[in-house]
């Protein structure tokens, strides 16, 4: 009978119920959208931050021997250790491997470039652009054994005029920093010579090598003064086959500490050490916290607004139904039956509002994701439960005052004809 009563009572007052559902839906939609964004884009916001560079630097471990001079160790002055390029795939075999968004090695060499009048020293950087890495022993059989990575994965925020080097076997293309382009008056498509010293035993032989500009990089950082080529080009020029100086790793991680990445990488490649860029991580966490707090605040305000909407609708409903409630009481309805009726209505409003709120919220989150983070938001079905729970909670809480009012209605109201 309660079901029949509810069904007919809701159908009879469709417009009121729809208003209440819309109120709940708006709150639930905002809560769902922001929750989806904060869960999904939490990572994607992290990704945005990753655009500003790697957050983990892998460098060779150096055994240092103190020489009695504060700050000067034998290791640091004698030991020019390098990392084997053939070990880099191991970075993708740590337990947090799925959070390794990318990594790229760097091999540095100071070379000279002629501006027509004089030669200037410039740092040549060998790195990966679009490198296919074969993971020889994947962590799990389900893991993709092929991983494509490169400097653009880590530094996707760089402004590039022209194009990135796309072929990993390209030996003549170079990407140059903006300042290099200015100093040497180079544009896309221009060729230029680099000069470098080749050591043959104790003898030094100066050689030159021709490169063609395919892209000009602008980062407002030290990269503007550098020339980037494929790693093997730099390795060949500097006679350091299969070697790299450092590896930058972009660890996508909100909940996990980047230190764990470092530790695991050190376990996989024992002669390296991982240095986290803690400062960046802290800034990132701080900003993420602020964003999340703001989202929470907006959600709370939205939910309060929905609660007020539901409360107003329910109050109006109680006032409109005073006689009906009085009648129900006069024919024997105890307060708990009246309470059950109204709370059941509130639960229905909450469930319907919650489901619709989830759908609308998901659409909103997609729009925000596309516009603000240039990404889609992964649907999370657990959020629908959260949305329903929040909506039912809001609906029930906002019904307390109207229901208390309903309970106070006297049955005599029916006979008094008020």
């Amino acid at each position: 009978m309660l079901f029949r009563l509810l069904k007919k009572s809701i159908l009879k007052r469709k417009s009121r119920i729809i208003i209440a559902i819309i109120s709940v839906m708006i709150g639930a939609a905002i809560a769902t959208a922001l929750l989806s964004i904060s869960l999904d884009v939490g990572e994607k916001v992290g990704l945005e931050f990753r655009k500003y560079g790697a957050n983990l630097m892998v460098i060779p471990k150096s055994d240092t021997i103190s020489v009695g001079f504060p700050g000067v160790d034998v290791g640091s002055i004698t030991d020019q250790r390098l990392i084997n390029e053939s070990d880099l795939w191991k970075i993708k075999t740590i337990s947090w491997r799925n959070n390794v968004k990318g990594f790229t090695p760097f091999l540095y060499q100071v070379i000279s470039v002629d501006d027509g009048i004089t030669r200037h020293d410039v740092v040549l950087v060998g790195t990966y652009f679009n490198q296919t890495i074969i993971i020889q022993q994947p962590y799990s059989p389900q893991d993709n054994p092929v991983f494509i990575t490169g400097i653009q994965n880590i530094n996707s925020w760089w402004t590039v005029e022209g194009s990135w080097i796309s072929d990993q076997n390209d030996t003549t293309s170079a990407m140059i920093g903006k300042k290099v382009a200015e100093i040497f008056n180079l544009s896309i498509g221009d060729s230029f010579n680099i000069y470098y010293d080749e050591y043959i035993g104790d003898a030094i032989d100066e050689k030159n090598y021709s490169l063609t500009v395919v892209g000009i990089i602008e980062t407002e950082g030290y990269e503007d003064d550098q020339i980037f080529v494929n790693l093997h080009v730099a390795q060949t020029l500097t006679s350091r086959p299969e070697k790299v100086h450092t590896v930058q790793v972009s660890a996508l991680c909100n909940a996990c500490p980047v230190e764990e990445f470092a530790t695991e990488i050190e376990e996989k490649i024992p002669y390296v050490q991982g240095k986290t860029l803690r400062q960046l991580a802290y800034v990132e966490m701080g900003v993420l916290d602020k964003v999340e707090n703001m989202m929470l605040l907006i959600t709370i305000i939205a939910l309060i607004a929905s609660a007020l909407g539901v409360m107003t609708t329910m109050l109006t409903s109680v006032i409109e139904r005073q006689k009906e409630i009085g009648l129900m009481k006069s024919i024997g309805a105890e307060n708990r039956k009246i309470i059950t009726l109204f709370y059941s209505e509130a639960v229905i409003i909450g469930i319907v509002g919650g489901v619709l709120g989830y759908i609308v919220g998901f659409i909103i989150s997609q729009i925000i994701g596309a516009n603000s983070f240039s990404t889609t938001i992964t649907p999370r079905f657990e959020i629908i439960l959260v949305s329903i729970v929040i909506s039912v909670g809001v609906s029930l809480l906002s019904s307390i005052i109207p229901i208390r009012r309903a309970v106070k209605i006297e049955p005599a109201i029916v006979l008094r004809g008020e």
Partner: protein, 274 residues
């Protein structure tokens, strides 16, 4: 309380505030299986009296004893249960839930009483001649039909007391007669009927008519014994005055009693005229 007594009101007062005295020191005994009509002008307090008997309203002071139980001492929940089990209500405006069918309106009273039995509801509607309109909503029923559904709802939980507030007030003569016939039948079956009405002809269908004016019982067709002691002895005087003013009815009986103050005023007026 005698064996035949079903309702006893003692010293009932109902004040809404200092200046609004609805019922004044009212005493009344209603016997089992009788039909008592309450008449009186608008605002006289007769509906309030019915509300108090029906456990819908509480008295400011005095006691209401139904089936030997003083209901003024019951909590709100106990009152609701007591009403549900013992009292059926018939309203002038029928007060059916507009979005429920005739059958569902009757079943609703069952739901509040405990178990819903659709067959029993159909039987009761059949009894009031409404079995052909089971699935019609009130808006699709005539006034008389709605009133019969209201009576079916009042009967569904088998109460012994039926309280009716102007049950024919909104009905045409034909429908009014059908409803009154039904109520008469119910009384014959043993229900105790208390009916508020404006219509003296309807009131006369009962065994007893009580006239309420300004919150006091001013006349009781059965006897004046239960009326407050201060009215004792003036019954005869009233008869004499009414004889003088020609307000005695054809049978030589007078159901109208105007109260002590009014009586004195009218005697003074008659004396002045002479």
């Amino acid at each position: 309380m005698t064996e035949n007594e079903i309702i006893r009101l003692q010293g009932i007062k109902k004040y809404y505030d200092e200046n609004t005295h609805v019922l004044e020191n009212l005493n009344l005994i209603i016997k089992k299986g009788t039909w008592t009509s309450i008449i009186g002008p608008s605002g006289s307090g007769k509906t309030t009296l019915l509300n108090i008997i029906g456990c819908l309203d509480s008295a400011t002071s005095g006691s209401v004893i139904i089936y030997g139980k003083d209901i003024t001492k019951l909590t709100q929940g106990e009152l609701t249960r007591f009403r549900r089990e013992n009292i059926g209500l018939i309203f002038q405006q029928y007060h059916l839930i507009p979005y429920l069918t005739a059958l569902e309106n009757v079943m609703l009273a069952q739901y509040y009483h405990g178990v819903v039995d659709e067959k029993k509801s159909i039987d009761v509607l059949k009894r009031v001649g409404m079995d052909h309109r089971l699935n019609h909503i009130p808006a699709h029923l005539s006034g008389g039909e709605q009133q019969r559904v209201c009576i079916a709802r009042a009967l569904i939980n088998e109460p012994t007391i039926l309280l009716a507030d102007e049950p024919t007030g909104n009905l045409d003569q034909k429908n009014g007669e059908i409803v009154l016939e039904l109520i008469k039948q119910l009384q014959k079956e043993g229900h105790t009927i208390v009916m508020v009405t404006h219509n003296p002809d309807v009131a006369k269908l009962g065994q007893r008519t009580i006239t309420v004016i300004d919150g006091k019982i001013c006349a009781d067709s059965s006897c004046a014994i239960e009326i407050n002691e201060k009215f004792e002895g003036i019954d005869e005087m009233r008869y004499k005055i009414d004889k003088l003013t020609g307000e005695v009815d054809e049978e030589g009986k007078d159901n109208l009693f105007y109260g002590e103050d009014d009586l004195k005023k009218r005697i003074d007026e008659k004396i002045k005229k002479r």
